[in-house]
Symmetry: C2
Subunit: 335 residues, 2 copies
């Protein structure tokens, strides 16, 4: 007779502030995420920083926790690193707060923490403080991760600086993360190359800044997708944005899924795709840099002085329609 040992699981005591929590921190979090600051300081990390500092936060509840191209750990790091990068800041220091449902296996938690460590390496950011809560079975779904981040600002992109004539670019083909989660939820086997775009964007941003590109506005197109970013810019700045539909890069897989389920690719979430605006004369240079990592990067539109506050999409046949700010349910727990 053989018996299968039950997998080791997180207990309520791992969040109790005593012996078990200390062990979890030492043997799991410090093992993979440890660094001089995390190991040195108490609850709060002490950081030497100067000048304008970007500060951002995101909680991650993505379901399923593992998907083609990433998992909750990867997205929890990339998401906050990207928010810093989009603010023109070098991603330096991150916090990490776990809310864990009693019964999560250690092996899954360990895999998520490993993914976090791998993703941190891509930008050089470090986890410098953390918190662990364990809630009873049924009070959360598996595990949620919050990361917050700080970094020194090297640039100050802001949509308030947008002017008519500026060019709008996307860093790669859009809609992959949303389409990937959608396909997964619908139980479809993913044929072809449909995987999430989930990625750390700092290397691209660093190259743009190092090359002297004047990034006027920059945003990763997460929930609400490309449509949300462009509408917030147009509406905030009270200028118009013209988008040439056939310039917007969308793979056949994403387009096909959207047609099947009635989604608009421009509303689908991305997790490693950003939108930027640059002065007209720097469009080609910016595109060339973006294509170093993603050959599908493209110039998709222009800031204009017409249809103020609105985004207008021109189809290959010349017809025009407003691209609206997304409304309604979209996909819950996309990130």
């Amino acid at each position: 007779m053989t018996s299968t040992p039950s997998p080791r699981r997180i207990q309520l005591s791992h969040g109790g502030g005593g012996v078990e929590m200390n062990q979890l921190i030492q043997k799991l979090f410090f093992k993979y995420l440890g660094n001089d600051i995390l190991l040195r300081d108490e609850d709060a990390a002490r950081l030497e920083m100067t000048g304008p500092i970007a500060f951002t936060t995101d909680s991650f509840t993505v379901s399923p926790r593992t998907f083609a191209g990433g998992d909750l750990g990867k997205i929890a790091i990339a998401g906050t690193v990207n928010d810093l990068a989009m603010a023109g800041a070098r991603p330096q220091y991150l916090s990490c707060g776990f809310i864990i449902e009693e019964g999560l296996t250690f092996s899954e938690l360990e895999q998520l923490v490993k993914s976090m460590a791998d993703e941190l390496a891509k930008s050089g950011a470090k986890i410098v403080c953390g918190d662990t809560k364990v809630v009873p079975k049924g009070a959360a779904d598996g595990v949620f991760i919050n990361t917050s981040g700080v970094g020194e600002c090297l640039a100050a992109p802001n949509w308030k600086s947008l002017e008519a004539g500026d060019l709008i670019l996307v860093s790669r083909d859009i809609g992959r993360h949303g389409a990937c989660i959608l396909a997964n939820r619908e139980g479809m086997s993913l044929e072809g190359n449909l995987s999430s775009d989930c990625a750390t964007l700092w290397p691209d941003v660093e190259r743009l800044l190092n090359a002297g590109i004047e990034v006027k506005a920059m945003r990763d197109a997460t929930r609400g997708g490309l449509a949300a970013v462009l509408n917030e810019w147009a509406n905030g700045r009270q200028l118009g944005i013209d988008v040439t539909q056939e310039q917007v890069p969308i793979t056949d897989e994403v387009q096909g899924l959207c047609e099947l389920f009635g989604f608009e690719p421009m509303e689908l979430a991305n997790e490693g795709t950003f939108v930027l605006a640059v002065p007209k004369e720097q469009g080609d240079a910016a595109l060339e840099i973006l294509r170093l990592s993603q050959p599908t990067a493209a110039i998709i539109g222009t800031v204009v002085e017409q249809h103020l506050g609105k985004v207008v999409l021109t189809s290959p046949w010349g017809s025009q329609r407003y691209l609206e700010l997304p409304k309604g349910e979209l996909l819950p727990r996309i990130c």
Copy 2:
């Protein structure tokens, strides 16, 4: 016939990144928490800061969400403000991440956000960035809040500086938050003055620093209580700590509840009570300052060169025992 309108509730679309989420942010979060920075910046706040900066994070899952002396909103602010204060830092800028279960009423969320605003006013800290996720019914229990915070360091308390002879103080009577949650869970009506100690500690810390008290170590005694803090200090520094049991302030209500349910008051969580170590000659001055806000503040012990790494409790009858690092389940969802 009259019909009672059903309360307005949070829908999945409030976390979707589109129209409904924008409205929630504008009409609720900005209404109560708005300030120049939150209203000015995009995803990431841009902060002018210099010198050593403290950075900390905490997620809050307390159940019940409202208790005698506070609620989830209050604790979510006080907790992170206190972590900054304990690092000797002025609480300046906080982030705020909500994970909301679909179906939470707007009125409850509004009450929590109001509590947050009230508690922020006590330290002058501001919410400068945030994130909202909504998960389907059953995937979380009501609402969880993560706050992270940054602030410029005015002092550098660290248990590594502890020396034999230093005095250990607590800022008020201990165990109130844990006892209050325990009583609530057991369905006991709270007679007497048993309410949570949940409070912002920055004003006390600021007074200590302004008075020139050399705070060698400082920690709020949250999960794991006084026992966890003293054990971490004694074990970390490899010195002993002697505690005189009758000097440790505990109210009759807390003591009584602990006897009834078999808890150790020194292991109960606090949410507005801190432990500090000062040089022997500054003990009385520090105590006087602490008593300005809490008359139960007390000098409870001494750092010694005996029983290295251990905390020893001396009873009124002269008997001695180790005060251990708490172990096991304690109270889940205490904070």
